[in-house]
């Protein structure tokens, strides 16, 4: 089991103008004011290279991102990178040169990645520009936020008992 009582970064990734890619920012809105003081909340639009330096100094990173390639829109996947890799059949979309998978790999190589990384992937179905989130993904936002709050509490608790 992985744990961290140090500083936690909750990173919500996505573009609210591209349909279900807006899931990350929507979860961030739901989390505003609901996280403990040692957890920082950050929203980014997807340029990994612009954000991996921000990860340095954190003990744990919790990422929330929409993913394509699944079969059940709105389904929330929890991936603890200490136990498994990001699934290859699931695309974490970015219109920039580096997506989440590449960003994490580069940060790890450079020693910038926090020791604990947990990714919450929300399966999306439409990533068209200038569209709203689809109903199943919008319905997943509140449950995802609740799971993040519990995850952050668990990370703190795990460290406390370590």
């Amino acid at each position: 089991m992985t744990g961290s009582g140090g500083r936690i970064l909750v990173l919500c990734i996505g573009n609210p103008d591209r349909g279900d890619d807006g899931a990350g920012p929507a979860v961030a809105k739901a989390l505003a004011g609901a996280l403990p003081p040692n957890a920082a909340l950050m929203v980014r639009s997807g340029d990994m290279l612009a954000m991996i330096e921000d990860w340095e100094g954190f003990d744990a990173l919790v990422c929330i991102d929409a993913a394509a390639g699944g079969s059940e829109p709105g389904r929330i996947h929890r991936i603890d990178l200490a136990e498994e890799e990001l699934p290859r059949d699931m695309a974490f979309l970015s219109s920039h040169a580096f997506g989440l998978g590449e960003g994490i790999a580069l940060a790890r190589t450079l020693g910038l990645a926090p020791p604990v990384i947990i990714v919450y992937a929300i399966e999306g179905q439409s990533f068209d520009g200038a569209t709203q989130m689809t109903a199943p993904v919008a319905a997943a936002v509140a449950p995802a936020a609740a799971r993040i709050i519990a995850e952050v509490a668990r990370l703190q608790e795990a460290e406390h008992h370590a």
Binding site: S45, L49, A50, E53, S95, A97, E102, L106, T109
Partner: protein, 429 residues
């Protein structure tokens, strides 16, 4: 006769979606096509009927890496049409914003996308295992460029603070000065980067390019100037369409640009450098000499050195602009819309970005034409591919494929930017 076709179905480490088809018959390269299949984006069509005020924010969306180029060319065209000139500190701030874009765009390409080609790595992640320091410097450089965009533009990607006549808000001197330390460190890193890339092994290729870039009487042209070439072009930007034309080719959703009288031409760092070497400060000229560059460089593979050099220049220039900054009284010059036509042209990181608009009396856009740098470079890229592949046509496919991909990346092509279409005709029966 042996015939073979080498295909790269999806080009990696370029922005946008493109592919490469190379046909070889009897050891001779018969065609080299950069196939761009990124869907056309119709910006020019949906700008019609929009206000000139919205223009810079709409065209910024053409590119996430070089939005400032589109903003700067578009506001220049509005100001040109309405008879206004933006000068003094507002002009300096625009140049500073543009320096930020050059830094972030060039650093991304030089370190993360192009350097792996020369060192035999599939990507920057693998390269970082051995060259972590350089990759960290590349990221820090990109961050320094982004810091300028964030402060002057409001945010890093698709800035929102540029308007016709100037800006919505300008920084105080006290807000700008803290960038200095980060930019000094960035300049030192960029100088190191020039020295590092200069040590690469470069394929031996010299091409007789027609270089096209802007030229300014006093500056290394970025935000304004005349359009010149190393042949006989020396024109006002409003004469662009007399000298250049765009043609549709079947294998690309991006129009090909040509000098009407001659054909392919090259825009971007190599062209700027060749035509404006004498406009660089002595420190940068000296650094170029140290890196083995003469005043003109015709080897496309050495564009990585010129790009790194321009990164160092942009850091130096940004520091100069910040040191000389005094907050202007107004954030923008007032504009009175009037009916007419306006032209804009600036030096995007990848080369000239040319715009023409026609406005109604209330400033509504009647017609828009945007010529991005990558579309202009396509014919040149294809000529490079043929030249690169010809001497190695009998080598194994992997060898040819690798060198051709590297040749395309010499141009830092931004394929998403380049796919503009003027018209879409739908025929139904």
């Amino acid at each position: 006769m042996t015939t073979k076709t080498i295909k790269v179905e999806y080009l990696a480490r370029v922005e946008g979606e493109g592919a490469l088809d190379l046909h070889i018959e009897g050891g001779q390269v018969t065609s080299a096509n950069l196939r761009i299949f990124e869907p056309p984006r119709f910006y020019e069509a949906f700008l019609q009927g929009r206000s000139h005020v919205e223009l810079p924010d709409i065209v910024a969306r053409i590119c996430g890496i070089c939005p400032v180029a589109y903003q700067m060319s578009s506001v220049q065209a509005v100001e040109n049409a309405f008879g206004v000139k933006v000068e003094g500190q507002l002009r300096a701030l625009r140049r500073l914003l543009y320096c930020g874009e050059w830094i972030e765009s060039h650093a991304l390409h030089v370190v993360m996308l192009h350097a792996p080609d020369f060192l035999g790595y599939p990507d920057a992640i693998r390269m970082a295992e051995k060259h972590g320091d350089v990759v960290r410097k590349g990221l820090a450089l990109k961050k320094a460029g982004n810091a300028i965009l964030r402060l002057l533009g409001g945010r890093e990607i698709h800035p929102v603070n540029v308007r016709p006549g100037g800006f919505y808000k300008v920084p105080t001197k006290a807000e700008l000065v803290p960038l200095t330390e980060e930019l000094k460190a960035a300049r030192d890193m960029a100088v190191d980067l020039v020295r590092w890339v200069a040590t690469f092994d470069f394929p031996d290729l010299e091409r007789d390019y027609e270089f096209v870039a802007m030229r300014h009487p006093d500056e290394y042209a970025i935000t304004e100037g005349r359009l010149i070439s190393n042949r006989d072009i020396d024109i006002d930007i409003s004469d662009y369409e007399n000298e250049f034309e765009e043609r549709h080719v079947a294998h690309s959703t991006a129009l090909h640009s040509l000098v009407k009288r001659r054909g392919a031409y090259l825009v971007g760092p190599l062209a700027r450098y060749a035509l404006n070497h004498d406009r660089l400060p002595a420190s940068i000229q000296s650094l170029a000499g140290e890196a083995g560059l003469g005043p003109v460089c015709r080897n496309p593979f050495r564009s990585i050195v010129v790009r790194a050099l321009e990164t160092a220049y942009a850091c130096e220039e940004a520091l100069r602009l910040i040191a000389g900054y005094e907050m202007p009284e107004a954030a923008a010059v007032p504009l009175e819309p009037r009916e007419g036509e306006g032209f804009g042209c600036t030096e995007a990181p990848r080369g000239i970005c040319w715009h023409r608009y026609e406005f109604a009396a209330d400033g509504t856009i009647r017609m828009a034409r945007i010529v991005p740098p990558t579309s202009q470079n396509q014919p040149c890229i294809e000529e490079d591919l043929a030249a690169v592949a010809a001497p190695i046509a009998n080598e194994p496919d992997d060898v040819i494929r690798h060198l051709c991909e590297q040749s395309i990346r010499n141009y830092d092509p931004c394929i998403s930017c380049s796919t503009h279409f003027l018209k879409l005709s739908v025929h139904r029966s």
